[in-house]
């Protein structure tokens, strides 16, 4: 049952990204192009996604466990770390350059051709390397 839910959640997420236009990199870069031909679509996507999710968090707060029995994610961690700021900045640079974030990068993997594969390979390699790189940087300090 959990597996079926996970598959359907992934599929619905992917189709939502397609419908909203988030796999179209010109729309995403258009949203980030504040000083050029600004495209406001992403605001509607984020707004549309946050509303049902805000409701879901309220329902979750009134329950002890998820409907299939697992416990809910741990309480909010309020710590703002340098890693959060540096990582998000780096992510923003890559997002702006390509117009892809991890969700749409995977949703368009099946039809985006070789550029999509090249981007995904770079992203996957960096994800695997990140913990090792961070650790050796910390040791070097």
């Amino acid at each position: 049952m959990r597996g079926t839910v996970s598959f359907m959640v992934g599929g619905l997420f992917g189709m939502g990204l397609l419908v909203s236009g988030m796999t179209d990199t010109t729309k995403v870069q258009g949203w980030l192009d504040v000083f050029g031909a600004w495209d406001p679509t992403l605001a509607f996507v984020l707004g549309g996604a946050v509303l049902p999710m805000a409701l879901a968090w309220r329902i979750a707060a009134r329950r002890d466990a998820a409907y299939l029995g697992a416990s809910f994610p741990a309480k909010l961690d309020p710590k703002i770390t340098p890693q959060l700021a540096i990582g998000s900045t780096l992510f923003g640079v890559g997002w702006g350059l390509s117009g892809l974030c991890p969700g749409p990068a995977m949703a368009s993997l099946g039809f985006g051709g070789w550029p999509s594969l090249v981007f995904f390979t770079g992203m996957a390699c960096a994800m695997i390397a990140q913990p090792h790189v961070t650790r050796s940087l910390q040791r070097a300090r």
Partner: protein, 142 residues
Amino acid sequence: MPLDWIYGLIGGIMIGGAASAYLLLNGKIMGASGLLGGVLDGSHAGTSRRDALFFLAGLIGVPFVWHLLRGAPETQLTTNVFVLILAGLCVGFGTRLANGCTSGHGVCGISRLSPRGIVATLFYLSAGAMTVLLARHGLGVI
């Protein structure tokens, strides 16, 4: 297109619906970078790993099947290999270091009024806007 915002809103509600179902049924946060990264670096174990693998199969497989039936949607991704690799590396490294991306920090974090989610979103939005400004209007590479 004048109808773009309606599609944006409908697609957004689908994304939020997916994240809600993942939280309420499986008790997990739907974060694309965390689910992929955990599978790749082996930090997910047992049920989490299984959940993540099924999630990734749906996320990649359903749009793939859709494109076979209805044709490929617009992507417009650059064909500049240097830009593709650099961008991929930044997105992969950055989202793992920050522990989240647009879905985890953005959708799931903002809706919970998480300070970390809101701060992360401010950082990647401003970095993205600065990058487009420099790379498009300054260097002209995108």
